[in-house]
């Protein structure tokens, strides 16, 4: 059996290696209103770390501070050993940042964008540079479009290009702000293949996402709500906390079932999910308590099935934010 989640993978991280990112009390306010408050967390070298939360939770603000494009109002973070509050330029040669908005030049071609970023990072023209571009073309399947203006690419291809430009100088750390937002599923898979290759090479990746299902791919996640961290752990560990409490009930009349279940003291949260009802109990149980089932049936709706659910990160999030 492989060890606890978070340490599996093709290489293990030496326990005393300095973390790639050490955030301590990171804070940022805009016109007096805090967007991010007192964030403290570590990201280990070679880790895939997720910043998870809805819009307005502070993901973009946090990433911008770590990328050195936004100064913290308070606190600090050491990114690859450099302080973002005192010396934000120091780590830029070794990181790559992909902002939420497409940050490349729509009026330059795919190849011109790649060349530009190669030049910017001082990669001299020659065999090494060509080899890297070739490799990126292979991952991204963008070579047939090398002469196309970047603005004319589909959303998924734009993101693949952005990732390619970010990787051309072989950074140690990738900071990605919602890299797969709105991207078609096939391009999303391509993007993840690239990311997984990078992880295999030991690159550290910190990404933000509001897709809770995507967060489940990460080694560890920090759930952000209103600028604060409400939980930080491996997804499985977080889900284990809710293990044995989530059930899915299919009934002839889901709305009647919903109303009844909500009134039960055993239930903590009840939500309609299409034609079924998802229930979170206050106490873990190996099966849905008989009283609850009877109550639903006597409310006049036949119960078609009851199934224990593996709690999703969304359930965890709702639990922690009191939703």
């Amino acid at each position: 059996m492989i060890g606890p989640a978070g340490t599996e993978g093709s290489r293990s991280v030496a326990p005393d290696a300095a973390p790639a990112i050490e955030a301590r009390g990171l804070t940022r306010a805009f016109a007096g209103v805090p967007a991010v408050e007192d964030l403290s967390f570590d990201v280990h070298g070679g880790e895939l770390f997720g910043l998870v939360g809805p819009d307005g939770a502070g993901k973009t603000t946090t990433l911008r501070m770590l990328a050195g494009v936004l100064r913290p109002s308070g606190g600090d973070a050491l990114v690859l050993g450099a302080s973002v509050a005192r010396d934000p330029e120091a780590m830029k040669p070794r990181i790559a940042y992909m902002p939420q908005r497409f940050g490349l030049y729509g009026d330059l071609t795919v190849r011109e964008n790649l060349d530009f970023y190669a030049d910017l990072h001082g990669l001299r023209k020659g065999a090494e540079r060509e080899a890297r571009i070739e490799r990126l073309y292979r991952f991204s399947a963008l070579e047939p479009f090398a002469g196309r203006l970047a603005g004319k690419l589909s959303g998924g291809m734009k993101q693949k290009l952005a990732l390619s430009c970010a990787l051309i100088h072989r950074p140690r750390l990738l900071l990605l702000d919602e890299p797969t937002f709105g991207v078609d599923p096939i391009s999303r898979r391509d993007l993840w293949i690239i990311l997984q290759e990078m992880l295999a090479e030991g690159i550290t990746i910190l990404l933000s996402t509001s897709y809770l299902d995507e967060a489940e791919r990460c080694d560890r996640v920090a759930l952000l709500d209103g600028g604060k961290i409400v939980a930080l752990d491996a997804p499985r560990a977080l889900q284990a906390g809710l293990e044995g409490r989530a059930f899915e009930i299919r009934a002839a009349s889901p709305r009647a079932a919903l109303r009844t279940l909500r009134e039960r003291p055993e239930t903590r949260r009840v939500a309609l999910f299409g034609e079924s009802v998802h229930v979170t109990l206050r106490e873990p149980a190996s099966r849905l308590p008989a009283e609850v089932l009877r109550a639903v049936e006597s409310a006049g709706t036949g119960v078609e099935s009851v199934e224990a659910l593996r709690p999703s990160l969304e359930d965890v999030f709702l639990e922690l934010t009191g939703g």
């Binding site: 479009f145 096939i186 309609l272 999030f317 934010t321 939703g323």
Partner: protein
């Protein structure tokens, strides 16, 4: 949550479905944004338009609400032809756009007054509906607040209330929960479900594959075409194959090894695990264990996972030979 059932909207009489599209097509020059779209939505149904950005969802909706004429094909909404009677269509429907269409520099009350006026509401009905919208968004007592200052979840509910002040028979929602936190999202979907139970027909477009679970039926769109339309559970079942999540000591090697196995349909990495699509679960488990042991990769836990709509989407697109290219 205010009870929407008390004000159930009237719905289409007769046998015709509330929304009917037949060969709906829209071109922009050489580019075909919507290609031969045909489907029907019954009263009280929630239909989800699912697909990535650029699939044509927004263009399709614009045609259905009568604000963009089709290049060819027809569509009827609430009994009116969208090309011939666009104004009649717009009077009969509610529309909530991705950007919520509220004026940030107006107060909550001012926005509601504006929309009430736009929909020609007056008198008792007007004040009653505005009261309902405020209660629904839990904004009673906050009428004088500037809309821009509201948190996203409340803005969304206010936008929805504004869109249905006139109790339309049909409601079109374009990416209504984009970026909203999970709690607000769930509350929103409950409201939608209430409305549908009251007879309102609802068409939602979204790129969040998992949101489709809330719909009665889902229409998957890619590159302007409809690639499938069915209930979410049926779509997932159609995938037919179980999916196993395999944990190993060397995920990338394991993925390469398993992808080469003939008995397995597909093996891709998912985080640090490998997701494998199999035909026979028992046989597959055996094969996986054997192959990995042969290559010296340590095998951890193997468990069955539910296919997601994304899996369905990718599989359908691959099956139809199509590629989502730029």
């Amino acid at each position: 949550m205010a009870d929407a059932a008390a004000s159930a909207p009237p719905f289409a009489e007769g046998g015709e479905a509330v929304i009917v599209a037949d060969g709906l097509t829209r071109r922009f020059g050489d580019f075909v944004a919507v290609d031969d779209l045909s489907f029907a939505v019954e009263a009280g149904e929630i239909l989800g338009f699912l697909g990535p950005n650029g699939a044509g969802k927004t263009t399709a909706i614009r045609m259905l609400i009568g604000s963009l004429p089709p290049t060819s094909g027809t569509a009827r909404v609430a009994g009116h032809d969208v090309a011939v009677e666009p104004y009649a269509v717009r009077r009969a429907i509610g529309y909530m756009s991705q950007l919520f269409s509220l004026y940030g520099d107006l107060t909550v009350r001012e926005n509601l007054d504006l929309f009430a006026g736009l929909y020609d509401l007056s008198g008792e009905r007007r004040s009653g509906r505005i009261r309902w919208a405020l209660a629904n968004a839990e904004l009673e007592g906050r009428e004088e607040q500037l809309t821009a200052m509201l948190p996203l979840g409340l803005k969304q509910r206010l936008a929805l209330g504004s869109a249905i002040l006139h109790e339309p028979a049909v409601l079109f929602l374009d990416e209504p929960t984009s970026g909203v936190d999970p709690a607000a999202r769930r509350a929103f979907w409950e409201l939608i479900s209430d409305l549908a139970a009251g007879g309102t027909t609802i068409l939602v477009s979204t790129h969040y594959m998992e949101e489709a679970e809330h719909c009665h039926r889902v229409a998957l769109m890619n590159r302007g075409r409809l690639i499938a339309i069915d209930a979410p559970s049926a779509l997932k079942a159609s995938l037919e194959r179980p999916i196993l999540e395999v944990r190993t000591s060397d995920p990338s090697r394991a993925a390469a090894i398993l992808d080469g196995l003939e008995e397995l349909e597909d093996a891709t990495m998912f985080g640090r695990t490998v997701h494998v699509v199999v035909s026979d679960e028992a046989v597959a488990r055996e094969r996986i264990a054997a192959a990995l042991e042969r290559e010296g990769v340590e095998l951890g836990e193997v468990r069955r996972v539910r296919p997601t709509l994304e899996d369905v989407f990718v599989s359908l697109v691959r099956k139809s030979g199509g590629v989502v290219a730029g």
